[in-house]
């Protein structure tokens, strides 16, 4: 597979802040590539450089072989971009919105008509065709914005925090939609500060912090490489001493770094093992007659993950300066 999105030592400097400090990326065709990092890590800046909205201070990036510096117009034709924060026009109907962007890409009237129908079907807004854009729910606007980024059938999609502000159901729908797009052969670069959100979706990720790529590759590999344990939540059907006994049992198991009882009665485990290890732990717990109601991996927030890795408790200095 060839790289369809490449970044080569991208640097973006604002007045005093180094927002992106030499980012290299290599995204193969057909991938869903996640860009993960805490707020202020340089994800948005990187995506905006790829989308030709910002000029890099140094370095270059290529989308489908076109340089964002030298051929921004060709780049714009092959990519669709959905910013993290976007607005909608007042006084515009859903089909007019898509029609407008179709015109911007120079599509003919006939092809616009066909594409608008197809896209509204794809993002499940077929019945909202003549509704006003500002009257749509946040999730619908998000899907419409995604549809607008697809009017010209781009090979590459750049999505900046597409799931932010969506309720769980809309998130699931968005995820399904992105999977569908991947089947259609699109390469998708997506940014998020929540690792689990990408875990289920992405084929590979790059973890960025303070403008640098700390690691990139498949998620499982990265987690392994960073040696970061997962947090397991175990709901034990017991109270008082029985619960404490269960906790002590867990604490005694290999790969369990710590076990605490949360106020709601859940036992939380710091777990160093992989998924097979978790399965083994569950088997052992059942064998030990511990009444387990639920056993799940807690969502591990990336910022927490970074603090663990870097051992810093104070906020990331770059973040404040960048904000």
């Amino acid at each position: 597979m060839t790289a369809i999105v490449r970044a080569d030592g991208l640097v973006k400097r604002y007045d005093r802040t180094l927002a992106v400090a030499g980012v290299d990326l290599d995204v193969a065709e057909g991938e869903i590539f996640g860009l993960v990092g805490p707020n202020g890590a340089g994800k948005t800046t990187t995506l905006r450089i790829l989308a030709t909205l910002l000029e890099p201070t140094a370095g270059d990036a290529e989308v489908a072989g076109f340089s964002v510096r030298r051929n921004p117009n060709e780049v714009r034709r092959v990519l669709g971009f959905m910013p993290d924060v976007f607005g909608v026009y007042d006084d515009m109907r859903v089909w007019e919105y898509l029609d407008f962007f179709g015109r911007c890409y120079g599509l003919t009237a006939a092809s616009r008509k066909r594409i608008i129908g197809d896209l509204l079907e794809l993002v499940d807004l077929g019945d909202k065709r003549t509704a006003y854009v500002q009257g749509l729910s946040r999730g619908m606007q998000q899907r419409l914005c995604l549809a607008h980024a697809l009017v010209h059938d781009p090979a590459v999609l750049l999505l900046d925090e597409p799931a932010s502000g969506l309720d769980p159901r809309a998130r699931v729908e968005l995820r399904e939609l992105l999977r569908e797009l991947r089947v259609l052969g699109k390469t998708i670069v997506i940014s998020s500060h929540i690792l689990p959100e990408l875990e289920e979706l992405c084929t590979s990720v790059a973890i960025v912090d303070r403008g640098r790529v700390l690691a990139s590759g498949r998620i499982a590999d990265i987690e392994q490489r960073l040696r970061v344990g997962a947090v397991l939540r175990v709901r034990v059907l017991a109270e008082g001493e029985a619960l404490e006994a269960a906790r002590d049992w867990f604490a005694g198991q290999p790969d369990v770094a710590a076990a605490v009882i949360l106020p709601d009665g859940t036992v939380e485990l710091g777990f160093r093992g992989d998924e097979a290890g978790a399965a083994a732990l569950l088997r052992a717990a059942v064998a030990a007659d511990i009444p387990i109601a639920t056993f799940s991996r807690a969502a591990s927030d990336l910022e927490e993950l970074f603090l663990q890795v870097t051992g810093q408790d104070d906020p990331v200095p770059g973040e404040e300066a960048a904000a």
Binding site: Y14, D15, T17, A19, N39, G40, A41, G42, K43, T44, T45, A51, T52, L53, L54, E55, P72, N73, R76, R77, L79, F81, P83, D84, V85, F86, G87, V88, Y89, D90, D91, M92, E96, F100, F101, R103, C104, Y105, G106, C145, H148, G318, A321, A322, A323
Partner: protein
């Protein structure tokens, strides 16, 4: 790329984008009753004003001369017609000075405020298309208003005194005013992030261009004590469309009247100017118009080739009124074409600057003191 190929290529690249922006903008602006109501209100205001001016002029005519049909009523009627026409042009100039900047001052900044500009900027649509498309569609609305007023203005033909080409001149100047001050609004709209601030700055600029510069001229004129001092440059008035309309009104007057007097003063057609001569020519009175026939020797010639018509000899110096050969008091189009050209050049300049400001990856960025550049709370470096 040479200038010629640039001229050929830019429209071809920009046109589809201009159409796209135009269709989108006009759909929003012309939807529902808004456009219909605004045109109606505008025409009613203009017509009501014209009617009132007509009433005032008619009653003045009666009071001054008595309503006596024998006293050449056609002359009086023509003078009423001219008065209404001039009043309409001034009123519309005033309204356009407000409406054109107001309708463009929010175009770009509202895209920034609503965070929709990025969505546009990642399409292949050029910044030229964004700015020109938005400017044209905003101006379309003003143009519709101006055109809708033509039937009202045409009513002055009932009174007479105004020729169709006078109306063409007046309306040409109105369109130029709309374009120039619309472009000014677009410029500030792309310079400043907030629509409110853009509107405020635009109107400050409108005030400076019209009242401010003109007052500087008046100040320079009034404080120059010597008749030998240079006249303040008429260019100070070029951005003031009222003065251009005064020239149009002067053309309607035909012979020297009050508005021609204004233009004479502005252009220096009457120059209080001393010219040393060896054999002074003396002509009395101001009755004669046009170039006078003067002998080859001893001609009182102004530096720009004008000749003295009337004046008094003060020793070796004639203090009189000097007419440039092509600018005789009461002559047509002495002044407003220059003003119109300046305003159009300004419109092109402001539009080009707005294009530059909209381009996301421009290298050149103006830095206003105290305003950090491209900073938005919490997301600039994310």
């Amino acid at each position: 790329m040479t200038g010629a190929t640039l001229l050929r290529r830019v429209p071809r690249i920009a046109m589809p984008g201009i159409t796209a922006i135009g269709v989108k903008e006009l759909r929003g602006r012309m939807r529902g009753k808004r456009a219909f109501v605004s045109v109606t209100v505008y025409v009613v205001l203009v017509a009501g004003f014209a009617w009132m001016v007509g009433q005032i002029l008619e009653s003045n005519a009666r009071n001054q001369f008595g309503f006596n049909p024998v006293f050449n009523p056609s002359v009086q009627s023509a003078s009423i017609g001219r008065g209404i026409f001039t009043a309409l042009m001034f009123l519309q100039t005033l309204m356009i000075l407000v409406l054109a900047p107001a309708s463009t001052a929010g175009t770009i900044s509202s895209e920034r405020e609503k965070q929709t500009l990025d969505l546009l900027a990642v399409t292949p649509i050029s910044s030229v298309a964004i700015v020109v498309g938005k400017l044209l569609s905003a101006l379309t609305w003003v143009f519709v208003l101006i055109l809708a007023s033509i039937p009202v203005t045409a009513l002055v033909f009932v009174y007479g005194g105004v020729a169709p080409d006078d109306v063409v001149r007046g309306y040409a100047m109105l369109f130029v005013t709309a374009i120039a001050f619309g472009a000014l609004g677009t410029f500030f709209s792309s310079l400043v992030r907030r629509s409110g601030a853009a509107t405020g700055l635009t109107f400050v600029a409108v005030l400076i261009a019209t009242v401010g510069l003109s007052f500087i001229w008046v100040f320079m004129y009034q404080t120059s004590t010597s008749v030998f001092a240079r006249r303040p440059p008429e260019a100070l008035f070029y951005l003031n469309p009222f003065v251009a309309q005064a020239d149009v009104a002067c053309g309607v007057e035909g012979t020297s009247g009050a508005w021609c007097g204004v233009i004479d003063t502005v252009t220096g057609t009457f120059v209080d100017f001393g010219v040393p001569v060896t054999e002074p020519v003396f002509r009395d009175g101001f009755g004669e118009k046009g170039l006078i026939d003067v002998p080859e020797t001893g001609v009182v010639v102004a530096p720009d080739g004008g000749a003295v018509i009337g004046g008094v000899v003060v020793e070796d110096v004639v203090v009189g009124d000097i007419f440039a050969p092509d600018a005789v008091s009461g002559a047509r189009d002495r002044y407003w074409p220059r003003s119109a050209l300046t305003l159009m050049l300004l419109a092109v300049g402001f539009t080009a600057a707005a294009v530059q400001l909209v381009t996301p990856t421009r290298r050149w960025r103006p830095r206003l003191p105290g305003i950090p550049r491209r900073r938005r709370p919490g997301r600039s470096a994310e």
